[in-house]
C-alpha cells in the first residue's frame, strides 16, 4: 500500500514518542553519564573517559559470562526452532481440539518467570521433584545444585520448556494461514511429505520464523529471572549469564561506572546481532 506523505501524523505518534523517550532516553543518558565517570558518592565524581569501557572489555569475568551467554543462546535457538516447528506441524489444524492444544501449549508462556524458576527448582530436585527423582531412579547421578553440567542442562531444559511453545505457536499460526488448496494441489501433484514441508510449509513459515528467531535470540540473551531463581547462577558462576552479572554489579556492588559501561556494550551487542540476523535473512530473501 502506498503511504500518503503527511507530517501531521507526528501528532499521532507523539504520545508514544514521549512515553518511550521518558522511559528509555532519560535512563540511557544516565547510563552514558555514569559510564564515563568514577563515582564515590553524591557530588564526588571524576571524569574518567573510556577507562571503564577498557576495563570491562578486558575483564575475564565478563568475557566468561559473555561466552556462556553465546553458548546458551545458540543452544536455545538450535533446539527450540526445529522443535517448535515440529510441534506446530503436529497440532490439529482446527476445531475444538485445535483450540484446546493451543491453550495448553501456551500455558508455560503465561507463568511469571520467577514461578517458572520455582517450578523447576522443585521439579528438578532429587528429593521432592519428580524429574530429579526420576533421573536418579534411572541410575544417573543427577544434582543440579552440585554439578555444573547438570545445572547447565537443567537451565537449558527449563528454557526449552518455557519458550518452545512460543516458537510452536508462531509457526502454528503461520501454518494455519496456508490455504487448503495448497495441500490439495500437492496431493494431486503426488508430492512426498518432505516435499510438502520443504516447498509449501517452510517457505510460508519464513516470516514467522524470522520473528521467532529474533525474539528467541533477544530474550535468551537477556535471560535473568529463571536461572536466578533456579540456580542463583551457580554452581560457582557456571550459569551466571550477562544480565545477572550486570545486576550483581549494579545493585549488589554499586559499581556504577563499570556497570554502566557494561550496560552499553551489552545493549550494543544485542542490537548488532539482531540487526545482523535481520539483514542476513532479508538479504537472502532478495537474492532469490
Amino acid at each position: 500500500m502506498d503511504k500518503i506523505p503527511n507530517n501531521r501524523a507526528w501528532w499521532l505518534v507523539l504520545p508514544v514518542f514521549l512515553l518511550v523517550a521518558f522511559s528509555a532516553l532519560i535512563p540511557l543518558m544516565t547510563v552514558v553519564n555514569y559510564s564515563v565517570q568514577d563515582i564515590f558518592g553524591p557530588g564526588q565524581a571524576y571524569f574518567v573517559g573510556t577507562e571503564w569501557f577498557k576495563e570491562v572489555l578486558t575483564d575475564e569475568r565478563l568475557q566468561d559470562s559473555l561466552l556462556r551467554q553465546f553458548l546458551f543462546s545458540s543452544a536455545v535457538l538450535l533446539i527450540q526452532i526445529p522443535l517448535g516447528i515440529g510441534v506446530a506441524l503436529m497440532m490439529p489444524k482446527s476445531g475444538i481440539k485445535g483450540s484446546l492444544c493451543l491453550i495448553l501449549v501456551a500455558i508455560p508462556l503465561l507463568i511469571p518467570w520467577n514461578v517458572v524458576g520455582t517450578i523447576w527448582q522443585i521439579f528438578a530436585r532429587g528429593d521432592i521433584g519428580l524429574f530429579g527423582w526420576g533421573i536418579n531412579q534411572l541410575g544417573v547421578d543427577y544434582n543440579y545444585t552440585g554439578s555444573t553440567v547438570d545445572a547447565w542442562l537443567t537451565v537449558l531444559l527449563m528454557d526449552v520448556w518455557h519458550w518452545t511453545p512460543l516458537v510452536a505457536l508462531l509457526c502454528y499460526s503461520g501454518l494455519r494461514a496456508i490455504p487448503e488448496a495448497f495441500y490439495q494441489a500437492a496431493e494431486i501433484d503426488r508430492a512426498s511429505k518432505w516435499a510438502v514441508f520443504r516447498y509449501i510449509q517452510l517457505p510460508r513459515l519464513k516470516s514467522v520464523l524470522i520473528i521467532a528467531v529474533l525474539l528467541r535470540f533477544m530474550d535468551s540473551f537477556m535471560i535473568y529471572t529463571e536461572p536466578f531463581v533456579l540456580t542463583g547462577g551457580g554452581p560457582g558462576s557456571s550459569t551466571t549469564f550477562l544480565s545477572q552479572t550486570l545486576t550483581t554489579m549494579a545493585i549488589g556492588q554499586f559499581d556504577l561506572g563499570r556497570a554502566a559501561a557494561f550496560s552499553l556494550i551489552y545493549f550494543l551487542i544485542v542490537l548488532l546481532i539482531s540487526w545482523l540476523f535481520f539483514t542476513a535473512i532479508t538479504h537472502a530473501d532478495k537474492e532469490q
Binding site: Q184, A185, I188, D189, R190, Y199, P203
Partner: protein, 366 residues
C-alpha cells in the same frame, strides 16, 4: 486415461444427514466417457466442486462408488488415482522457478530427466510462458501464475483425467477466451478426459462436447449445448441456459391442454395423454424467447399481448410482453419496432412449447 463412473453416488458434509437438504450431492449415476471434453455447469453451491473433489479423491463420498475403468477407487488417495486437478485460484510453489513448478509433478512420478525437460518445454510453449521458465514463480502476475497452475495439470502424460475447477476466474476476459481455445486444442491433441467446472454457460459450451448441468446436488441434464438449448430437461436448465432464460409459466389443466389466466395453450395429443396419466398440480410450460413468434396481425392460436418494455441489445432486441398476469420475454430482430403500450400478436409454436410436470420435461415416447 479412464472412463469415470459415479455409481449411486451421494455426499453429505454432515455426519448424520437428516433429509435431502443435508446433501451436497443427492444420489446420482453418471459416466464420464474416456477422452471426452466435458463441462460441469451450475450455479454456485450446487455441488459441482464437491463432485470434482470426489472424482479426484480429495473428498470421500459418503455413499456410492467411484469407478475408474470399472475399478472401485473410493479408498484410493488422489496420488493413487493418478489424476490432475487445476484449482480456481492459482496454486504455485513460491520458492521454485516456473520450470521447477512444471517439472514438480513429473519429478514426483520419477519421470526421467530428459523427458521432463522435453515435456516442460512442450507445455510451456503451448501456454506461451516459455520465456518465463527461469523466473521465480512468486514474481509472476496472477494470470501467469494460473497458467503455471494449469501447466502442472497438463504436463503429466499418463493421467486418468484432468479436472478443472473454474480455472479462469482470475483471468481477464481477453485471455480467458484464448486459454479456453488452448485447452480445447490440448484436448484434441492429447485426447485426455477433461472435466471442466464452471458457472458460465458460454465457457461451458465453448469448451465442452457435452455439458452436465447440476442443480441442487443433482445432474439434471447431460447433453450437447444444442440439446440443452432446444430440449431443456428440467425447468432449471431452461432458466439457467440462454440469456434471457426460458419463459416458464405456471399453468392449470383444461380441455384442450393447459391454460393460464384466460389464455389456453394448445398441446400436442401425446402431451395431453401423458398429462392425464399424472396427478401432480405442479405443471408448467416453457418456451425460449428465441422461439416465440410475434406478428402485428392475429393468427391461428395466437394471443393478443401488450408490449411492456423493449431492450435493444445491438444485433437483436428483447421485448417484454404482457399476457394476463404473466410477462413473457421474446427475442426479435433489431429492425422490429413497436411502441410501448401497443398491442401485438404472439404465437407459441407447439414443437418449441415444452411441458414440465414437477419441474421435469414431458418427452415424447419413441
Amino acid at each position: 486415461m479412464a472412463e469415470i463412473h459415479l455409481k449411486s453416488l451421494a455426499h453429505s458434509y454432515s455426519k448424520s444427514p437428516s433429509g435431502p437438504e443435508d446433501y451436497a450431492i443427492r444420489q446420482l449415476d453418471h459416466v464420464w466417457h474416456k477422452g471426452g471434453a466435458y463441462a460441469l455447469l451450475g450455479p454456485s453451491g450446487c455441488g459441482k466442486s464437491t463432485m470434482l473433489n470426489i472424482i479426484s479423491g480429495l473428498v470421500q463420498p459418503s455413499e456410492g462408488e467411484v469407478l475408474f475403468d470399472g475399478i472401485r477407487v473410493n479408498a484410493l488417495s488422489p496420488r493413487d488415482r493418478n489424476i490432475a486437478q487445476v484449482f480456481q485460484f492459482p496454486v504455485i510453489y513460491d520458492s521454485m522457478t516456473v520450470y521447477q513448478n512444471l517439472a514438480f509433478p513429473l519429478k514426483n512420478n520419477k519421470v526421467p530427466a530428459a523427458r521432463i525437460k522435453e515435456r516442460v518445454q512442450e507445455i510451456a510453449e503451448v501456454l506461451e510462458i516459455e520465456d518465463k521458465l527461469h523466473k521465480k514463480a512468486k514474481n509472476l502476475t496472477a494470470d501467469e501464475k494460473q497458467k503455471v497452475s494449469m501447466g502442472r495439470g497438463l504436463v503429466r502424460e499418463d493421467v486418468s483425467a484432468i479436472l478443472f475447477d473454474e480455472p479462469l476466474t482470475v483471468i481477464d476476459p481477453q485471455l480467458k477466451w484464448k486459454l479456453r481455445r488452448k485447452l480445447k486444442q490440448i484436448h484434441e491433441q492429447f485426447d485426455i478426459t477433461m472435466v471442466y467446472v464452471t458457472h458460465d454457460q458460454l465457457e461451458a459450451s465453448t469448451f465442452a462436447d457435452k455439458i452436465a448441468v447440476m442443480y441442487d446436488g443433482q445432474i439434471v441434464q447431460f447433453g450437447t449445448p444444442t440439446e440443452l438449448f432446444e430440449q431443456p430437461n428440467h425447468t432449471f436448465v431452461g432458466y439457467f441456459i440462454g440469456s434471457p432464460g426460458m419463459n416458464l409459466i405456471d399453468v392449470e389443466r383444461c380441455e384442450a391442454g393447459v391454460r393460464f389466466g384466460s389464455a389456453e395453450v394448445v398441446l400436442e395429443p401425446w402431451q395431453i395423454e401423458y398429462l392425464n396419466r399424472l396427478s401432480s398440480t405442479n405443471v408448467k410450460i416453457g418456451i425460449r424467447p428465441e422461439f416465440i413468434e410475434i406478428g402485428l396481425e392475429p393468427k391461428v392460436n395466437s394471443y393478443e399481448v401488450e408490449v411492456l418494455d423493449m431492450e435493444d441489445l445491438g444485433t437483436y432486441k428483447i421485448i417484454d410482453l404482457g399476457l394476463g398476469d404473466e410477462t413473457l420475454k421474446a427475442r426479435v430482430d433489431e429492425d422490429f419496432d413497436a411502441r410501448i403500450g401497443s398491442r401485438v400478436h404472439l404465437t407459441m409454436p407447439p414443437q418449441w412449447t415444452m411441458l414440465y410436470v414437477d419441474e421435469f420435461l414431458i418427452q415424447e415416447q419413441s
